[in-house]
């Protein structure tokens, strides 16, 4: 709108100006003057018309009149029409006035100029046009030179050249554009809004805020601090629980559990002393747990997990053990708390256990408990036949556990060390920014379960304690028995096996005895032990006991026996270095002797020398004998050409250069070119290389992954041109390589004026033509 108005106003203005100009042109009043001139003209016309009526004098000379002030534009006076106008005449009056000097100069210059030459013929012009255009174009093209050169020399070109850049939107944009669409998202949002839970910064809910407002400032501050602390603590505990839950080490968990149990036991004992009624309650609790267990099928082998394990158990030792553990747990839980029962009962229990487990598991389970499953294999086939052995074998795991238990009971410090170790490892793994998300996990459930566990563990412990007493008693007996067996000196297999079977028990008994010895319960056992130990170590020399103390003791005992029976090599090596060397020398000599004996027949050195001599002979140039027997003398059988003649016709070949292996006695160097090798060798230096050493170096450096690291291999084998399958490769563009492409389209340039040339172009042309 504005533009239009402006244009209109401009138009109006210009019209006004025109009008003004007109009025300025003739200062006289236009109306009068025009009227006068018109009248005269009409008058003249009239006269002419009258005069032309008679038809004689149609052409009439212009009317002569005096030069007047009034110069009419309609009639020109031809005063002095006969004379010719000369430039100098015109210039004459100019001379005086200095203001016209410039004009004079110009005129002079015009005077001095010659006539213009004829224009060039069409072909010539076109040629010049072409040349100019070609120069221009080749100049424009030369901007591509660096790019072309770069692409030709590039190590790797990846096509298509133009890469589609994935655009990353800033996070705010994404968030603002995001809306809950799926039903789940909407539900979550609804819940959040209902609770007025702040979505973005979940610090305080509105309820909390309200409560804050209700309190005084200091109180509120305290409350807030408390809240914060509680939250921090909660998150800390949660994080810790999570961390601990994540720890996969069974040992750690076992230790932890044991600790818990021990604590519970202590408390229980305390309670017994301090408050018998409370202890009774506890006992009731335990009883209740037992009842619960009996009702439930939790630790029976009917669950999904148990079934799967039962299948696996045949092949997997761990699964088998897990099953057994579970069953043991079941047994513990279901067993009544009693004073120590008879061993027979236990055996029954063990048998029951065996029945509970599927046969397949049972079969191998027995092996697993034994010290060496391979040795027992044959026997386990006929399980029923050797059922007599079962009572000895089956109670073992329980005893085993018990002993372990003791072992861990004893070194309380050890456990602590272990725990510390775990702590350290965790702290190492832990990162500085521990996620402080508030995960609302109810802590109640784990507590419940853990309390239950504690209870069950407690039960188990008390049971074990009672069992242990029986076991150790039994072991005493059995070990005594074995000693007797050894003394009897009848090394049949049937008797050896029980001995073997005893071994793990014994290993435990060492520690056990230590422990128990302190308590002073089983002093009577100390006598038979060393003998048994000695036997054991003899039988299983590769057995490596865990505890260092034990080891030491064992070593003492082994030493004694070793000294008697065999020479240990370690003694030899450590004792005297001189003797060792001597021994080595001796060995070498022995070896030499052996080799000599083995290769007594062949003399290698002589063979080699002979071979070399032959090679030298063969490589020597031969003399050429040109004697013709019978030529110029008598010939025939048995006649030889004379020595003189032979000397005359013998052509001696000059001796070649000395052999390269002349001074190398152990080497034969063949100086002949190997034809077979030559077939694989490069004859002439290939093109891009300038020296043979360059070429050799490129061949010498391997590029395979056998000789190079993975990264170097990848770098060395990058292909020169990489194309993506299924991608169209467009021609290179000026924009791709950072050049500005011409903004005007080619078409518009063509259509503007196909054949006309610009002024500058013309000038250029002219210059060219002059040249």
């Amino acid at each position: 709108m504005n533009v239009v108005q402006a244009a209109e106003s401009l138009l109006a203005l210009s019209q006004q100006e025109e009008l003004e100009d007109l009025s300025k042109d003739d200062p006289l009043s236009p109306s009068e003057d025009e009227g006068d001139i018109d009248g005269e003209r009409k008058h003249k016309k009239l006269l002419e018309a009258i005069s032309s009526l008679d038809g004689k004098n149609r052409r009439k000379l212009a009317e002569r009149s005096e030069a007047s002030l009034k110069v009419s534009e309609f009639n020109v006076t031809s005063e002095g029409s006969g004379e010719k106008l000369v430039l100098s005449d015109l210039l004459g009056p100019v001379k005086t006035s200095s203001s016209l000097a410039a004009v004079k100069k110009q005129l002079n210059r015009v005077k001095s100029k010659k006539t213009v030459e004829l224009p060039l013929n069409k072909e010539e012009v076109e040629r010049i046009h072409r040349e100019v255009a070609f120069n221009k174009t080749s100049q424009a093209l030369s901007k591509w030179d660096p790019i072309v050169l770069k692409n030709r020399q590039a190590e790797q070109l990846v096509f298509p050249l133009k890469k589609e850049q994935s655009a990353f939107a800033p996070i705010e944009h994404v968030l603002s554009g995001w809306k809950a669409r799926t039903p789940l998202e909407q539900e979550v949002f609804n819940l959040l809004h209902k609770n007025k839970q702040p979505v973005t910064d979940p610090l305080l809910t509105p309820v909390e805020k309200a409560s804050l407002k209700a309190m005084s400032l200091e109180e509120a501050k305290m409350h807030r601090a408390e809240l914060q602390r509680a939250r921090a603590l909660q998150s800390y505990y949660e994080a810790r629980a999570r961390r601990e839950k994540k720890i996969k080490s069974k040992k750690y968990h076992k230790v932890l559990k044991k600790g818990r149990v021990r604590k519970a036991l202590k408390e229980f004992e305390k309670l017994q002393k301090v408050n018998p009624t409370a202890a009774l309650e506890e006992l009731e609790k335990i009883e209740k747990a037992r009842m619960m267990e009996r009702m439930s099928l939790k630790h029976q082998n009917s669950g999904k997990w148990a079934k799967s394990k039962a299948i696996m158990a045949k092949y997997d030792l761990e699964a088998r053990q897990a099953m057994q553990e579970q069953l043991a747990r079941n047994k513990e839980l279901t067993q009544k708390l009693q004073a120590a029962s008879d061993s027979e009962e236990e055996e029954e229990g063990a048998e029951e256990e065996g029945e509970l487990v599927p046969d397949a598991v049972n079969e191998i389970q027995m092996d697993a408990n034994g010290p060496n499953p391979w040795m027992l294999r044959n026997h386990s086939r006929g399980t029923k036949e050797i059922k007599v052995q079962d009572p000895e074998q089956l109670p073992e795991p329980v005893a085993h556990e018990a002993s372990e238990n003791e072992e861990e009971d004893r070194p309380g410090a050890e456990e602590e060390i272990l725990l510390n170790e775990f702590e350290e490892r965790r702290s190492l793994r832990k990162k500085s920014g521990l996620s402080q998300e508030a995960e609302l996990v109810s802590r109640q459930e784990p507590k419940d379960s853990s309390s239950q566990e504690v209870l069950s563990e407690l039960r188990a412990l008390s049971q074990k304690l009672s069992q242990e007493n029986q076991q150790s008693g039994k072991q005493n007996v059995s070990s005594a028995r074995t000693v007797l067996a050894v003394q009897r000196e009848e090394p049949t297999e049937a008797e050896e096996e029980p001995l073997l079977l005893q071994r793990p028990e014994r290993a435990h008994t060492v520690e056990e005895l230590e422990e128990l010895g302190k308590e002073g319960c089983f002093q009577n056992k100390e006598v038979p032990r060393p003998v048994g130990e000695g036997q054991q170590s003899e039988r299983n020399p590769d057995n490596q006991p865990g505890a260092p103390k034990e080891k030491k003791r064992k070593e003492q005992m082994i030493d004694l026996q070793n000294l008697l029976t065999t020479k240990s090599p370690s003694v030899k090596s450590l004792a005297v270095p001189m003797t060792v060397e001597e021994l080595e020398d001796e060995e070498e000599r022995d070896q030499k002797q052996m080799i000599k004996e083995a290769f007594a027949g062949d003399d290698v050195i002589r063979d080699f020398l002979k071979e070399k001599r032959e090679a030298v002979e063969a490589s020597k140039p031969k003399d050429v004998d040109l004697t013709l027997p019978g030529w110029g003398e008598w010939g025939g059988m048995g006649l030889k050409p004379s020595a003189k003649k032979r000397r005359r016709f013998l052509i001696k070949t000059p001796e070649g250069p000395p052999r390269k292996d002349k001074n190398l006695p152990h080497v034969i160097i063949n100086e002949k070119r190997n034809v077979h090798a030559a077939a694989h060798q490069v004859r002439v230096l290939p093109y891009p290389f300038t020296h043979h050493r360059q070429f050799e170096r490129t061949i010498q450096t391997p590029i395979g992954s056998t000789w190079n690291t993975q990264r170097a291999f990848q770098k060395l084998t990058t292909p020169k041109v990489v194309t993506k399958p299924g991608h169209i490769i467009k021609p290179i563009k000026a924009e791709d390589v950072g050049y500005r492409s011409s903004s005007r389209s080619d078409l518009s340039v063509v259509q503007r004026n196909p054949k006309q040339l610009s002024i500058r172009h013309k000038k250029h042309l002219k210059k060219n033509s002059v040249d």
Binding site: W144, P702, Q710, T723
Partner: protein
Amino acid sequence: MKVKMLSRNPDNYVRETKLDLQRVPRNYDPTLHPFEVPREYVRALNATKLERVFAKPFLASLDGHRDGVNCLAKHPKSLATVLSGACDGEVRIWNLTKRKCIRTIQAHEGFVRGICTRFCGTSFFTVGDDKTVKQWKMDGPGCGEVEEPLHTILGKTVYTGIDHHWKEAVFATCGQQVDIWDEQRTSPVCSMTWGFDSISSVKFNPIETFLLGSCASDRNIVLYDMRQATPLKKVILDMRTNTICWNPMEAFIFTAANEDYNLYTFDMRALDTPVMVHMDHVSAVLDVDYSPTGKEFVSASFDKSVRIFPVDKSRSREVYHTKRMQHVICVKWTSDSKYIMCGSDEMNIRLWKANASEKLGVLTSREKAAKDYNQKLKEKFQHHPHIKRIARHRHLPKSIYSQIQEQRIMKEARRRKEVNRLKHSKPGSVSVVSEKKKHIVAVVK
């Protein structure tokens, strides 16, 4: 009982993610891996042999035309679409993935002389012996519609070739002169001539899009500038040039397919000496097309073979032929630089792999690594005689083989004569002309 076990630190052998490389402990001590050169040599030899074993370049033959295939065109946007024009005026559009003809048009009476697609891929242009230029829609007509061109331009003379501008709605035809057309008009925007012979082909420069090259039957190649509406330069060769092709990666380089069995690569700024003379064909070269990477080009010849030349080598690296393939008239390199198409006299379009022994389809990373390694090994040992012989060995049809022998003898004789003349004449009176300069008659400004 405590059991001591052998233990390893998992950090030394466990991967952090599934995508990581498996860590293999490895000792790179060179004394442990001796004989690296002989071992790599054997690997290179095996790689070369395997390459020859797996060299099966022929993929498919598209048949359906009822006369010789005279011209081919690529679709600028779709890799699977190809257009072909035959000597009976029929134009067919093919789908390469299905290897089927998807559309047939009777476009002209007489030959379809030239065919080109618009840069956007929506339409294409054909010129024929019936003096018309026709524009067609790329998509077929709807049901009930008649197959009709979008526009038809009736000219005064026969058009022998056509090419479309790479960015704008402009195309160029050739015949008696080179005409530049605006798509919207029925008369040329400008027409350029130089001399009076019929021009057989015209090609736009794909990079500097205002440049054109043409070749005429009076043995010359002429370059034009569309914006200045003037020819630029003309080079006259020994024999007639059939067609030219611009390098899509190097703005000033083009290759001319000549009747004297050779191809000439020129730098358009220095036309007096070709950058490279490519010789291996034994008959006239009829068509040439660059690989989109600009590193190689393919040429079709009257000797019933297709050859692939590296831009900087004078000898071909590959020759394709089949028993049934007759004179190859047109050839195109697909825009993903993987395949080659050639149309020949006996009415078939053939699809070849650009790299004869390449495995098609997706490669696993190990396959890719092995491929790269083998390629590098072949490159490294390429000068060794055994490897060179195996890599170069090609089976050729008897006609081509004997022709090569014959021409070798002729060439040798010519060379000998030249040497003799040089030897027995006054020093300085006979000058040796290099192979590159020999074929250039003149450069006209």
